[in-house]
Amino acid sequence: MTQRIQVLTRYFFRRLVFSFSGLIYMILALAFWAVLFPPTQQTPDIAYYVIVIGAFGAAISFLSTLSIASRANEAENYPVIVRLPGRIEYLTAVLVSALLFTLILQLLVALLALFRGPVLTTGRFLELPPLWLSVNITFATLALHATDFVTAGWSRVNIYGILAILLFGQSNSAPASNWLAGQMANLSRFFNAHGWPSIAQYASRAATWFATRGPDSLREFFGVVFWPFRAMSEGSLVGRFQPVQALAPAVLLLYASILFLLAADFFANKDLDFTE
């Protein structure tokens, strides 16, 4: 199993590296470094270094997973996938090759950014692998669900729909809460008018709750999924992680595991319709 995954990983990795997309990603990485870490300017902050290169890794892992998955989804691979005892090996190879490609570009930018860049102490250096890798892995597994390669039925719409709702709910909690407060107030008036004062009272309380504590509670509710990202960026900005914040990479890896298991299930049970 390990040999087969290694062989396929090497194959997909080479396909991306020696392709036009691979060249574009390389140019993108250098442009990113030149724009965000210009060597002619003053030394950037270490927190800036950790967060910006972490975000770069997230973007590249997402994009490179899409690129490799589209190559893995070509009809020329039918004879190869037929030979595998399980499709999960194929999917693992796609994920690992994308992560490997991301890691190389991220290391390149990270090393270049150290040129007239921040002083990286051993303590801060040891923070980097769990922070960057957990983000990369999460974004790569998320990207798998965006591809035709893995998606089955409405799975893509469901996963990205839930994500969009959570993002929307988090950033628009105040208007949403005010709207809900208005609806509850209307409901309260309706029940009062129809002679149900006890139910009207519950609706009135709910309207008050939405008007006062609603925005914060809704933001917390919708934003709970994004807590690891907040915790990691806060810890990086402060320069030290609270015990709870230190769990953030592990939580992200848990998300990644769930997303990968879902992807593996979709991929194993779908009809392969590779592009010709």
């Binding site: 040999q3 194959y11 070509e74 020329e76 039918y78 004879p79 037929v82 030979r83 779908k270 392969l272």
Partner: protein, 290 residues
């Protein structure tokens, strides 16, 4: 080797395979014939595990699931690789031990006549060479079951004969092979078992030897049109057919050859020619599909 039980495969409203059951015994070369859209490629993809049945099951008859070598109909390859590199990829993915990969590649190249082109890039290969390469990759790793979709299309007559010989050799070495093809001659030459498929259903299945032997016919040619005594002749057997001055006796009706001849002579006909021949695969196919 493989047992297909009540398999149906639907793509939205289209039923590609319709409640099909079939046994693929060890060591047989099973040929699947059928018009375009009959479900041949879908059946191969179902066995290869590329598609999943909507209902029904595909299971090994005994023991483990066989190792499969699959040659798709479309000749698509990673064009940037050389032939050797591609075969190496397939070999390593097929669990061929690292120290045997080179030998396995050499063997499959020899079998398919590609040994002089081993280091050529796939994008430089002609259609015939790509067809051979598709066969070569299917043979890598000595799979138990070969699924060959149109194995000799695009090859010149010499190439077709070579591939047919290769399939015969593989059969002799005990391989189980499933071939989907439009080429009746190819099926006749290499297959030991015949399945005719249309609209996802099996219309006819038999061992090739039985199919060609059991379906013999006698043709009696006379000097005059047989219409005047048609009714009398047809009372002899339902498998009698009349076409102008020719009388066809098929299957069981062949036993009545003597009676038919006597009837013709009594009626004043002169028998000009009597021929006994086996039905060709083309006739079996046409009959089944019609």
């Amino acid at each position: 080797m493989i047992k297909i039980t009540n398999v149906t495969k639907q793509f939205y409203s289209l039923t590609a395979i319709d409640n099909l059951s079939l046994r693929l015994p060890q060591g047989e070369v099973l040929g699947i014939l059928g018009p375009n859209g009959a479900g041949k490629t879908t059946l191969l993809k179902l066995i290869a595990g590329i598609l999943h049945p909507t209902s029904g099951s595909i299971q090994p008859i005994s023991g483990n699931w066989p190792r499969i070598g699959y040659k798709p109909e479309r000749l698509l390859f990673p064009n940037h690789l050389t032939i050797t590199r591609y075969l190496e990829l397939v070999a390593l993915v097929s669990n061929v031990p690292t120290n045997r990969v080179a030998r396995s590649i050499r063997h499959s190249l020899q079998q398919t006549g590609l040994e002089t082109m081993a280091h050529r890039k796939i994008k430089e290969c002609s259609k015939g060479m790509r067809q051979r390469l598709a066969m070569a990759q299917a043979l890598i790793g000595n799979p138990d079951l070969l699924l060959l979709d149109e194995p000799s299309s695009g090859l010149d007559p010499h190439g077709q004969a070579e591939i047919n010989q290769l399939i015969r050799n593989l059969h002799q070495s005990g391989k189980t092979i499933l071939i989907s093809s439009h080429r009746l001659r190819e099926i006749t030459e290499v297959c030991t078992y015949l399945v005719i498929l249309n609209h996802g259903r099996i219309l006819y299945e038999n061992s090739m030897a039985s199919a060609l032997a059991a379906r013999a016919q006698t043709i009696i040619e006379t000097d005059k049109d047989l219409s005047p005594i048609q009714d009398a002749l047809l009372t002899l057997h339902e498998d009698i057919q009349i076409d102008g001055n020719k009388l066809y006796l098929r299957n069981e009706a062949m036993r009545l050859r003597r009676q038919a001849l006597v009837m013709l002579l009594h009626a004043g006909y002169d028998v000009t020619h009597v021929e006994q021949r086996r039905k060709t695969l083309a006739e079996i196919y046409a009959e089944a599909v019609q």
